[in-house]
Amino acid sequence: MVSFSERLTVAPDVLFRLVGDEGVLLNLNTTLYLGLNPVGTRMWNALTSASSIQAAYDALLGEYEVEPAQLRADLEEFIQRLLGQNLIVAGPAIEASRERA
């Protein structure tokens, strides 16, 4: 399981587009298309734009009325599925000082 201190980025050769308020993804290497519903789309955006998974988790916790443990479990499951499809890559978090710069 990936650590919440890590950062997620969109894998190379993966395309993401918003259609309406839903997301669609294409992995060019596997030619696999996937759809995200609005909640999944928001999670995707939060995870791939935040400096760390923890930062995405904090942002989502502020947006949704959800138990922290439930959100953590949902996020972990979501991340596993994304990793399983090679749609995202885990790496070191962006340091706060670098992020500010």
């Binding site: 050769d13 395309l15 587009r17 918003l18 259609v19 309406g20 308020d21 839903e22 997301g23 669609v24 294409l26 060019l28 030619t31 298309y33 996937l34 759809g35 995200l36 519903n37 609005p38 909640v39 999944g40 999670m43 949902d74 499951e77 979501f78 599925r81 994304l82």
Partner: protein, 350 residues
């Protein structure tokens, strides 16, 4: 040097005396493209759109033999159809008893040979359908597998694979006064914030009883699409044909026949943007070309189309008697707000 140019030079210098590109003196307009040819084709000469050009050049058997002898990495062959993706990026396709085609890597030229027993009508169906689709995709277009008619000055497209009933439904609309825009292959282009649909050849491929019922056409003297089908190629008169591009109002994705036969009802369903996107992807005219640049372009095009055009699911029993009811259901749906209602459930990946 390999590829079409090389083959053409070989043919030019060969015993057959074929001269590459010698006098593409016939110019036609179809799908918004300018089609030039060294032999006459049964196509309109109007050239609205000018989106791109494709040159069609007849060639002898030797030119195609040379191509297939060189082999390719990706091929699919059965008794009816042969496809070879050649190493230089050009594409060879052949239909038994119809003809063979070699599409250049850049999609600007199609070399063709009509087999002896093939009618011009039948040959053109394959030249201007499957073979041309390779050229169009090579030139950056994304053809959809759809038939389109004009209703109240806007194009309405019926999307679906072979045998989904696209042409039959279109014929039913023609009976009620609509004009045919295109049959089977649909080319779209963006103009401002709208999508334009371009006219295809003025013919419909129909089974005889559909032709008789909706077009009043006698099937006895008509040309078959190929030797293995009863489907006929029916020319569409000028007054029933749309010759200029028109704005696309809606796309109806037809339910698969196996799903449709389970329902006694005519049903029009709104699709979520995600569902619409997937229906449009499934509705591509050409699934052979899957290189990354094409897939990336198709992905962007489909997302953009989803943003701009209403896409709905149309399910109905597959009987001739019910088609007028389907037509009226579509008309009624068009009269309502064309944009689909979002219908999404919370959750994760599909």
């Amino acid at each position: 040097m390999t590829g079409v140019r090389d083959l053409l030079e070989t043919a030019t210098n060969g015993p057959c005396g074929f001269e590459a590109g010698a006098g593409s003196r016939y110019r036609y307009g179809v799908y918004g493209m300018v089609i030039s040819s060294d032999t006459p084709l049964d196509l309109p000469s109007d050239t609205h759109g000018g989106l791109a050009q494709v040159e069609c050049v007849s060639a002898p058997a030797a030119a195609f033999l040379a191509a297939t002898d060189r082999g390719g990495d990706d091929r699919d062959t059965d008794s009816w159809y042969q496809y070879v993706s050649l190493r230089d990026g050009s594409t060879y396709v052949r239909w038994r008893s119809i003809g063979e085609f070699l599409v250049a890597t850049d999609g600007r030229r199609i070399m063709f040979r009509r087999f002896d027993n093939a009618s011009l009508e039948s040959f053109q169906v394959y030249l201007l359908g499957q073979a041309l689709s390779f050229a169009l995709i090579r030139q950056g277009f994304e053809p959809l597998h759809a038939t389109a008619v004009v209703v109240d000055r806007h194009a309405v497209a019926f999307l679906g694979s072979n045998a989904f009933g696209k042409s039959s439904l279109a014929a039913c609309f023609l009976e009620a006064g609509s004009r045919l825009l295109t049959d089977d292959l649909l080319i779209l282009g963006e103009s401002g914030n709208r999508i334009l649909a371009y006219p295809g050849p003025s013919r419909l491929k129909l089974f005889p009883k559909i032709a008789r019922r909706f077009l009043g056409q006698d099937a006895t003297s008509r040309v078959h699409m190929n030797p293995d089908t009863d489907k006929l190629i029916l020319p569409i008169e000028e007054h029933r044909r749309q010759g200029r591009p028109v704005a696309l109002d809606a796309i109806y994705a037809l339910a698969a026949p196996r799903d449709a036969c389970r329902t006694p009802y005519v049903r029009v369903e709104s699709l979520s943007p995600r569902e619409a996107f997937l229906e449009l992807l499934k509705g591509t005219f050409n699934r052979r070309l899957t290189n990354q640049p094409r897939l990336a372009r198709q992905f962007s095009f489909t997302a953009r189309l989803t943003d701009l055009v209403a896409v709905k699911k149309l399910t109905y029993p597959r009987t001739i008697e019910r088609l007028p009811e389907v037509r009226e259901a579509v008309r009624a749906d068009l009269a309502r707000d064309a944009r689909p209602t979002l219908n999404v459930q919370p959750g994760f990946l599909d």
